[in-house]
Structures are given as C-alpha cells and as structure tokens.
C-alpha cells in the first residue's frame, strides 16, 4: 500500500472532527471520499498534510507522516489541491507553475514540465502572463491542478475540484484527471460532493458521515448501493 491510514482522529481545538478513520490507497489508484457538507472530507485531506492536530497513524510508502511539517510531507511527493484552490492570486500563471516545482531541481526539466502542463491545459498557456486572480473559476482550478503536477507528485489530494464549475468544464477537468492517472500513474485521493462523477472516476470509494467511515468498497459497488443512490446520487 502506498498510503495507509489507521485510526485517524483530528481536532479543531476541543472539537473532534474525525473519529478513527481507516482507509488505504494503492499505487496508481484513484480513491474518492464522499460525504455531505461537514462530514470531514476537507479535514481528512488537511490531516494527511499535517495541517491540523491529529492522532492515529498515517503511513506513506511505509514512512510515518505523523509529526512532519506540511512542507516536508509535500517533499515526499504528495501534492494537495486545496478547497478554494489556493492559487497565488497576485502572481502570474507561469509563476504559479514555477512555485509548484519549488522543491525540484533542474531548470530544463522544470521548463519542460511547464510546457507539459500547457499541453494538458492550453488555456493556461494563453494566459501565462496574467495574474491568477484574473482567471475564471475553471481556469483557476486547472491552474491548481497544473501547479500540483509540477511537483511530479506520486499522490494528488484533490478537494472538491468540481466546486463552482460549469458542467462542461467539470467534464473536461475529470477527463484530464483520468488521463493523468493513466499516463503518469499519479495516484489520487479525490474529495467530492458530486458523487456520480467521482464514483465514475475512482477505483475505490469511502463514504464519510460526521467523521466516521460508514461504507467502503469498490467504486462500482458503492455506486449501486441503494442508500448511496438515494442520498448522494439522487435516483
């Protein structure tokens, strides 16, 4: 297993947001975390990146992530595309991509990877000299994904990548994610409210309710579950 999480609890001050999660993610796989607003999806991703107080066990390639600073976890090859995208709004598209490669060395390889990102997202190339704050929501999301790719990550954590985007843009984005996974073998942990979309993309799914995992299994099976269909897929 590439990522193994056991008995993960997370806390905001006195409040406990996660109550002992167990989940895992294999090399090259896509896993989705589903759940309603406030279920603890964002908190789970933040916990993986060491951005919140937690207990339990998190292993990446067998190495414990507990007690490591966020920037050191990132350096292991875990790229987090946060809720709200977290782009550097006052910097240009190109600078944002440069920042994504900040922990890497080798100018030519980085320049080549920037071109690669532009190949995936041609619209970013047109806007390379614009500040990120002037991009549309869809473009910003693409920039956030592109910036994450610049790390050459082994695992990408994506927090509601479809949020606030027009349906056509969402489809385009998920198509690109699928391709990145197939071509580059990047493993992904995707948090989504759009369950249909996420289940279609993912290999495995976990269902989160108020900080507990209430269901786990292959994405296809979860998608056929009666209760899941009623609450999350709407049919």
């Amino acid at each position: 297993m590439m990522l193994e999480v056991r008995q993960l609890c997370a806390f905001y001050g006195e409040n406990q947001a996660l109550h002992g999660l167990d989940f895992a993610l294999d090399e090259g796989n896509i896993v989705t975390l589903l759940g309603a607003n406030g279920a603890g999806k964002t908190t789970t991703l933040r916990a993986l990146c060491g951005m919140i107080r937690l207990s339990g066990e998190i292993r990446f390639d067998g190495k414990s992530l507990l007690g490591r600073a966020t920037e050191d976890i990132v350096r292991l090859g875990i790229a987090h595309v946060p809720e709200g995208r977290g782009t550097f709004v006052r910097m240009t598209v190109e600078e944002n991509l440069q920042l994504g490669a900040m922990v890497r060395h080798g100018r030519t390889a980085i320049a080549a990877d920037i071109e690669q990102v532009y190949a995936h997202f041609p619209r970013l190339k047109e806007r390379r000299a614009q500040t990120a704050g002037t991009l549309s929501g869809g473009e910003q999301q693409m920039l956030a994904v592109g910036r994450a790719l610049m790390l050459r990550p082994r695992l990408m954590l994506l927090d509601e990548p479809s949020f606030g985007l027009a349906p056509l843009i969402v489809e385009e984005l998920f198509e690109i994610l699928r391709r990145l996974n197939r071509e580059l073998g990047v493993a992904m942990l995707i948090v989504e409210q759009n369950a249909a979309l996420a289940l279609d993309l993912a290999d495995h799914a976990y269902l989160l309710e108020t900080g507990h995992i209430v269901m786990a299994g292959p994405a296809q099976e979860i998608g056929q579950d009666e209760a899941v269909r009623r609450s999350y897929l709407g049919y």
């Binding site: 977290g86 709004v89 920042l99 922990v103 991009l135 929501g137």
Partner: protein
C-alpha cells in the same frame, strides 16, 4: 526655478533613505502583518557596527559590506530567537516584543558606544556636484546607492526562484507550505534582508544626521509615513511613497513661509492623513479580489 530643482533633488536624497526604511518595514509587514517599530533602531545599530569597523581601520567599503552582512545575520537571528517563538502569541505580546527590541538596541548602543554624537564619514565627499551647487556629491551618492540597491532587490524578487518563494510565503503562507516552501525560513530571510536594507539607509543618512542612538527616530517616522502613503501592501508603492515624503518635506520646509521649517513633519503627516482618508489602502495599495 533653480531653488525648486535644488530642493526637489535634496528631497529625493533624503527620500531615498525614507524609501529604504519604508521598504524594510513593508518587507516585514507583508510577512508577519506587524509594523516593526524597531526598524530604525536596527538600522542605527548597524551604523554603529560600521563605525566600529571603521575605528578598527577598515576601509569604508569593507566596513559597509561588513555591516550589511552582519546586519543580515542579525535580522535572521532576531526573527529566529525573538519572533518565531511568539508568532502565535496574542497581539499585545508581539507588540511588547517590538518595544523590547527597540529598547534593547537603543540602550545597548548607548552603553557600548555612549550617547555622544559622532561624525560618520561619506565615501562620496561633500563637494557640490556639477559646480553650481545643485546637489552635493553625498546626496547624489545617497540616491545612487539606494537606486542600485532597489534595482538589485527588484531583480532578486522578480527574477530568482528564492525571491519568488519569499513572495509566495509572504502573500499566501498556507499555499506556500503546500508547494514545499519552508515558510518560517523565508520569513527569517525577509528579516535579514530588511535589516540589511536598513543598514544601508543608516550608513547613508549618518553623515547628514550624525551618529547617535536616537538618530533614526525621525527617519523611521518619515519611512512609516512613506510606507503608509504608498501602501503597506505594495513594496514598490512604499518606495515611491518614501521618495514622495522626502520631496514634500523639503518643499514644505522651503516654500511655506515661517511655519515651513518648523512644521515640515506636521505638514507631511497631514498630507498623508488626507491621502488615507481618500484611499485607505495607500496610493498604490491593492485590495485583492479573488474570483470563485
């Protein structure tokens, strides 16, 4: 006309120092959202260090570079030792730390080098440049050295990876961590560079205001004014604000009869308050809008 030009140039010379102090203040403000009240005392202490090196017989430019280097390290150390441990402390504790730093630097400078006013040399001489007393060579040197320093800083922040990382850490620390930037060290580096910029400003103004522990008091006030005028969110704006304050100060002192010379600080400050009432973020300040 010639008097006007002369006063504008003189204003630009002191404005260069205000601009440097304004930039130093803004560099730290952007990283930690606090105005460093001790910025002037840090610059004063750096200038004393240079003076000490000169006393040891170092050539001027060796002392200049030496003081800048030691100040850089000192700035980094101040952040690591004093401010990093209290970064999440309540705002009043942080204010207390700035006041403590101010007091420590001021009184230890007085204790080490005493409070007597000292002269500080200039490498540029004081002969009038261009014969007709338009601008003194030291004033020209102040402007020249400052512009060179600002140019190098601009290249560093716009053109280098480290500069980019520092900007990212200051504007959006959480995202910066998520791309692997060691934000804490970037802030320390910002303190170091800010201290180095202050050191240059202190050494350039010392021949004019003379060297003593309170030499930077007024200078820092004008620097603050410049930073606020140009916008605390904009390093370029703060620099422009610093130059503007220098020019306004000089013109007010020369051309407003009687009150001018006495009240030039007041006049400058009133003007700034007026600007802030019209545009609270400063002339070049930005309020960032992020689209969803």
């Amino acid at each position: 006309m010639e008097l006007l030009l002369q006063q504008v140039l003189a204003g630009l010379a002191t404005g260069a120092i205000y601009a440097s102090m304004a930039l130093a203040v803004v560099m730290i403000y952007q990283a930690i959202d606090h105005l460093n009240f001790a910025q002037g005392e840090m610059a004063m202490f750096s200038t004393f260090l240079a003076w000490q090196m000169l006393q040891w017989g170092w050539p001027y430019w060796a002392a200049f570079v030496g003081a800048v280097a030691v100040s850089f390290l000192g700035g980094v150390a101040i952040e690591r030792i004093l401010f990093k441990p209290i970064q999440n402390a309540p705002i009043l504790s942080q204010l207390a730390a700035f006041i403590a730093l101010y007091g420590i630097l001021n009184s230890s400078a007085g204790w080490i080098w005493d409070f007597n006013i000292k002269t500080f040399p200039t490498p540029f001489g004081s002969a009038p440049l261009f014969g007709e007393r338009l601008i003194g060579t030291h004033q020209a040197g102040m402007i020249g050295v400052t512009l060179l320093m600002l140019g190098l800083l601009y290249l560093f922040f716009r053109g280098s990876r480290l500069g980019l990382a520092m900007r990212a850490a200051a504007t959006n620390p959480e995202s910066a961590r998520l791309v692997g930037i060691r934000v804490g060290w970037m802030i320390a580096l910002g303190w170091g560079m800010s201290a180095a910029v202050g050191a240059v400003a202190g050494m350039l103004i010392a021949p004019v205001v003379f060297l003593e522990p309170n030499m930077m008091l007024g200078v820092l006030l004008y620097g603050f004014a410049g930073a606020v005028l140009g916008g605390l969110s904009s390093p370029g704006g703060a620099v422009a604000g610093g130059f503007a304050v220098g020019v306004i100060e000089n013109l007010a002192g020369t051309f407003i009869p009687y009150v001018g010379r006495e009240l030039k600080l007041t006049i400058a400050l009133v003007l700034i308050v007026a600007v802030l009432m019209v545009k609270p973020s400063g002339v070049f300040g930005r309020t960032v809008v992020s689209r969803v």
